[in-house]
Structures are given as C-alpha cells and as structure tokens.
Symmetry: C2
Subunit: 499 residues, 2 copies
Amino acid sequence: MMPPVVIKSETLAATINLNRQERVPLYQQLYFEIRERILGGDLPPGSGLPPTRQLAQALGVARVTVTEAYAQLEAEGFVTSRRGAGTFVAVGLTLAGEETAASSTVRAGAPPLTLSAWGERVMGLRPSANLPPTRPDIDFGFGRSFPHIFPYDIWRRLLDRYLSTDDVMLSRYGSVAGFFPLRQALADYLGQWRGVRCTAEQVVIVNGAQQALDILTRLYLSPGDEVLVESPGYAQAFAVFRLFGAALRPLPVDDHGFPVELIPAGSRARLVFVTPSNQFPRGGALSLPRRLALLAWAQTHGAFIVEDDYDGELRYEGRPFTALQGLDDDGRVVYLGTFSKVLFPALRLSYVVLPPDMVTPFVQAKGVVDRGAPTLTQAAVADFITEGHFERHLRHLRQAYGQRRQVLVEGLDAHLGDKVRFSHTPAGLHVMLYLPEGAAKTAVVETAVVAQAAAAGVGVYPGAPYHLHTPAPPSILLGFSGLTEEEIAEGVRRLAAVL
Amino acid sequence: MMPPVVIKSETLAATINLNRQERVPLYQQLYFEIRERILGGDLPPGSGLPPTRQLAQALGVARVTVTEAYAQLEAEGFVTSRRGAGTFVAVGLTLAGEETAASSTVRAGAPPLTLSAWGERVMGLRPSANLPPTRPDIDFGFGRSFPHIFPYDIWRRLLDRYLSTDDVMLSRYGSVAGFFPLRQALADYLGQWRGVRCTAEQVVIVNGAQQALDILTRLYLSPGDEVLVESPGYAQAFAVFRLFGAALRPLPVDDHGFPVELIPAGSRARLVFVTPSNQFPRGGALSLPRRLALLAWAQTHGAFIVEDDYDGELRYEGRPFTALQGLDDDGRVVYLGTFSKVLFPALRLSYVVLPPDMVTPFVQAKGVVDRGAPTLTQAAVADFITEGHFERHLRHLRQAYGQRRQVLVEGLDAHLGDKVRFSHTPAGLHVMLYLPEGAAKTAVVETAVVAQAAAAGVGVYPGAPYHLHTPAPPSILLGFSGLTEEEIAEGVRRLAAVL
C-alpha cells in the first residue's frame, strides 16, 4: 500500500481564509474551510492533513484552534485520525466533486419535485397583496388598527406580570385547546356581550380564523363538497375552501345579508360560511327571519354553519348585534372570533366556539397540525378581559372608530353622494363603495379608479376579488381604521376629485 | 283583524330576572330575558309588549333601560314598533318553540354531522398525553425547559422596546413569511453555527414544526405516497403523515442514525423525515457516509428530505454537528428548527429553511391557512439573536443541561449499568433507556415499569409510541431538562429500586 500523501501546511494554509472580525470562532471557520476543500475534492480521500502544530504556525493561529477544527471534522466523519500517524481525509465518501459518468447522468435526469394537486391550487391563487407598490399619502387599507389606540402600557404590565413571576408556565408546552383561564374568560364575555351560549370547554384558541377554517374543512368536508358563501364575501375564506377542493356556491347578499331563500332546493352543501353581524365586505346585518331560516335549513340538510364574527363588537349606534350562534339549538353553528380587530392584528390570536360534538375532533386535529398558541399572550389576554380592560378598550374603540366612520360617511355623502352607493350601517372598519355601472368591464373600471386615486396619493382597493357572482358591480373598499379624521376627510376630497 | 293582545307589564315583569350585581348592563339583561320569552313562545308573534314606562315601573328600573332593550330587540328584528301603537313581537318567524308536525319530523331525522376520512383518522389517533394523571414527585417528562434558566429580564426588555416605541408595526398584519429581520438573523446564525447555506428569503417563520410538516405534506405529497421515517422516531411527525394518508415506511435506526442502505431498491418514497444531528428519540448522529448517500438517493429518486434539527444546538462535548442541509447541492433538503427547546416551549415559534424552489409555494400556502406568526415575538427574538443574547444563552444552556445529563448518565451507569442500554452521545434533553428483553410483550413490560416508577413517585414515559417496527424492544424515555441535578440523582435511585 502506498503511504498517503500528506498535504503541506503552507499549501493548505494558502487556500484558507480566516476572518478575525467575525463573531464565529476561528476554529469553526477553519473547520468550514477544510470541509469545503474536502467536499470540493481539493483534499482527496485518504490524503493526510498537516500536523496541527505546523498548520497553526502557517495560519498564525493558536494550536488549539487547529486541534478543535480537526476534532469537529473527525466527529462529523470528514477525517479520521490514527494515533501517531496523523489525520486523514475519510475514504469511501461519495462527494459532489467527483462525479462519475453514471452520477452525472443521474444528476441530469434527477426528477424535479412536483407539486400535488393541492400545491397546484396554491400556485393558482392570487397572492394576497394587501399593500400597494408605493405607499400612498393616505392609505385606506383595511385589516389594521390605529396606532396609539391600544393601551400598550397596560399590555406591557400584564406581560411583565407573567415574565416576572411564573415562568414555570412558560417552560412547558401549553394546552392544545388554549390556556384555560382565557377560554373561561371568553365564554363569560361572549355569553354576556355577544349572546353566545357555550361553556369554556367549547372555546378553543387558534392562530387566526384561517387555521380554524382549514381544520374544520378537513374534518367535515370531502373534496368536491359544496360550500355556500356570500358574494361579495371574505376572500381569505374562499381561498381555504378552494384549496381544499370544495365547490363554492356563492349567493348574492343584499342589505339584510345572506339570502337564505335563494339556496337552491336541491343543494347538497355541507357548510355555509356567513358574516351575520356585519356582512363582509358589503355591510349590513343578517335579518332575524333569515337567521332562523338558515338554522332550520342547516338542520334539515345535515350541514353546519360557520359564523365569522370578525368585528361584531364594532357597531357605533345601539348595541352590537348578538350572534347567530345564540339562536342555535342543534349544534350546527361554529362561531369564529378574533382579537385582530379589537386588540391588534400583530397579536395573531383568534378563537372558535364549537358545538359540543365538534370539540374533540377539532382539538385532536389541532394537536397534530399545531401544538397550540403562545401561553404568555393568552395569559395576558385573559387578564385583559377579566380585569375589565377589554370592555373599556372596546368603548374607546367604538368612540374612536365611530367618529372616523362618521367623517368618512359624511365626506362621501357630501362629495360623492350622487355617484356612489354604500351601506350606511354604522359598523365595521371599512366602507365598500359601489361605483356607477357603465359600459366598461368591472375590472377595467376598478383598476382605473385605483390608479387615479393612487396618482392623487390615495390608496383604495378593488372590490372584484370579493365578488364571486358575475358580472360583479364595480366597487372599491375604503378602510378607515388606520387613518386620522383629518386624513379621512382629505382622502375623500382627493378621491372625489378623481372620480 | 283582531287587535293584538298586549301583555300586561306585571305579567311580563314577574317572569324576568335582573341581576344588579352583574357587570352586564340591566338593559342588556332585559333584552336577553325578553328575547328568551319570544324564542320560547311565551310571547307569541304579534303580541304587544307593555309600554316602556309601565314595564320600567313594574321592574323597578329606569325607563331608559326598557327603551334601550326594546331598541335592541327591534334592531335585531325580534319586535317591530309602530309609532303611537306600541311594540309588537315580530310575526312570520319560525321559532324553535312552535314545532309543527313537519318540523318535528325534520328535527328527529336531521342528519348528524359526519367526519371526513381525514376526520376519522384524527379520531383514530391516540391523543398525545404528555402529562401523567397524577403529578409525580420527580417527573422525567420531556419537551420542557428548566424554569429560571431563560433570561426573562432580557426578554422583557426586548418586548418593552417594541411595546414602547414602535406600535405601528403591531397595528398591521405582519408578513406571512415572517418578520424579515428575524429571517435575516436566522440565516446568519444558521450559516455561522449550523453550517446551513441559505439566504434570508429561504427562511420562513412557522408556528411550530408541525405546521411546516402539515403544509409540506399537502404541497408535495398525494395520499398513499410513501414517507420514509426513522424507527424509533418522532411520533408527532408520524401523526401528521398518517393524517394525510401517507404510507409510513419505517427503517430501524442504529448508533449512526437512519440506515440509508436499507431503503428498499424499489422504494417510491417522496419524502424522507430524519433527525440527523441527534436521532430522536434514540440518540446518536447520522454518519457522514449516510448523509451523502441519503442526499444522492433523494436526488436519484426525485424525493425530498426533511431534516428536523429540533435540538441540534444542544451537544455537550465538542461542537454541535453541522446540518445535513449544508451538504445539499440539489435543493432536496428542508431544514426545520425550533426555539421551543433553546428559548422556551410556550413561545411557539419555529422556522423552516426551504430550497429556493419551494419558497413561493410554501409561503402562498401558509398565507391561506395561517396569516403569519405574531410580530412582537419575532421582533424580540430577532434582537435576542443579533445582540448576542442567544449565543450567550446557548452556552449557558449547554453547561446547565450538560451537567444534568452527566448526573443522569452517571446515575444510570452506577445503578442500572447491567440492566439497561442507552446512547451515551452527549446531546439532547432526554435519554431513551432500552430495558432487558424478556418473554413478556413490550407494551406489558413498559406499562409495568411506568406504573412501578409512578408508585415510587417518578414519572417515566413508555417508548412504544415512537417505535414503528415490531416487535419494538421495551424502552422508556427520561427527560431531564425540567429537573434539578438533585432530583435527577434521586429519581434514578428510585427507578433503580423498582427495576
């Protein structure tokens, strides 16, 4: 057997770059450098590395630096060392550098990763671009809260309470279904203020309403099943149902919400997705006769209803409407609520109230696909509710957003009253403006208005993605929750000038 | 037409319970009470409610209380009011109280909600019971961190920084793929310390590794597809694959991890799930020849590899092993990392490093099923890393956990050295003990040991759920990350006494 070639320390050192300014220790940099030479084929299998003392000298580093680099190379199998003989590049490794004819063929012919049918549907979705390319002066974006309106000082105090005193809670995985005191606080709050009838066990904390829809769809639907939805409606929910492979059956909403009486007699829908408190995005509440008829329909047809109460608390005259869930005697309604609108969006915390039969399947499924929401946040929200901060904050929000909405509505009535239609229901965080219908296609009209508004420094958003029935009337959405009253008034004036 | 019957105020008041101690305002309580009477049929359709002044007098409340309750009832459609004539229960509502023969039949025959095939699989899973029924004195549970080890004071300071100064960030939805500075900090850290080669764009923040697996499975697999897994292996990942309907093909691991050479020649597996840095739960690292062979196999077969590096940082002698991902030249490896083990479990924050081709599908899918992780937490983690706290904390953890592991291993060697086998690789947060094999069935042996240990006040966990090959050798898991050194030593003594 030929004695192995030992690489000269100067030869190796000349190829190695060490950077003393980096935070990564020198021995680790040296490990990566030598490893690269091995994987690249510059240090062939079986060749000997220079003795540690010589390489250290050549590199101008401490000997321990080289010793530790060699040790890591050996631990990971890149080199072997034989006592008294030295350190040698491992043999028998199939390295990228030494492609044979066979392996080249394999590489060239390596099958690419292919997407599943679900993956293809994902790629077919329009990415949800909620941000304009250039930030306008006045952005009527929605799905945001007004900065400086949330009592962050109280929030900080609540977080500090747990971060200072009870970190045992933080050092374990939390309950999949959610932090129990928060579930209890929600059951109490929802019963007292939203007319929801449930126990704490029926409340499950989720990382956003989307997650709840994703799990519910998989638990109770099969691809091809029909889902009845509102049009216009909540596009993010449409995306979940579409990804799943459900068949969306849109019904056109009017001032009183989802037209139950238009459900086709032969419909075999398994799920109805509705926004009864404040129809999204058109506005208006589901009427009581329709509520009762919808519950009766679901019962007769073995379907279930998802009630998305995304901003039911935000009604600015009279009391918030109570939930559809409270009228359900048959375990057909899943109630979805979120803190995104009433605390702050970056919190990413929502909840679902499930009929008793659905709790175990839902929690078991959630336990597999996601092991639960962050405990600290849940604990802080629980205290925020039980200590009265939430009610106080809601009153504050209703006043602040109610005034902003009034400025918007008055501006629209004054400047555009003869050109646009919109729901005057005093609720929610945006207004959907229906534009005059003309000869041009909806998409053309909306794109033109959005572009003209943008040129005037105003961000408005096209309504077409929310409409499933065609031809959709041209419309734009104006969110007001991120703007001051002055910005809103100015934004409307600029919009009126271009319309 | 008959004039409507007007209910007497005393008659109605006698059925109504108001509680002045409750936080819910009286008018809202009154609204719920009258609503119940209407829905229950006690106040029939068309009947007149008492005049507000009379009912207020009969109830002993202010008139405005009744006026507001009536207003909410009217807003929601339970009553109608005719100026000068009074307030009347709405007609034409199909109420639960007045079941006709037909609706009774419907109710009796109402189809129940049925679970999908996925739902049935969910119900077939064992619920993940990580907690013993009674808390033992000394609980060798795993998946927890030691309380008081995390620098919560620093954490609080980082959170406060954002809560005090930049709440604009919190008032919007964050980026689906994650807070960019955190993605950049991770790309830098992973490159320098774990040998992962990636850009910040390839790093996506997820709410736990389970979520990443759930999305990847749906994107790239079809039900029935094969998934190669380690046995014993990570049971939570098995659950995701099983739910999806994948066919699990377990290969028995040895001291050098996943036996690539045992992959059947005709295998059509699309995905290989491995834990190369520290095989879970057996211990030991995937050898370099197997790493290279696995990459070559995946390339040849058009499969991809998920590298779950759940605790790769926690190696107590020498350096942590570098990642398999860093050896991949063909975009076949998805790297999963988590902060659960190295920060704290209740944080619920993980990350995935995707091959470039997989980034867009993954992020689009995540945008539909979950709109992103909480921004505040991500911002704090980003600063925790870039300001050097993370490296310091890791050094601290390695020392603290390394000592605990040593106490455990020395205790096991001293008291049970002749009875049990386990990996002596100095890594991880638990030890898997293989028990003597005898005539009895594995499940029987494990159940007996767990019960005997529990009787001695020691919590240990059966190994069977992690094994997919049969017969699985009897084993138990001992996590040490939640215990003091004294508790560990005492726990081993007690365990030795019962074994």
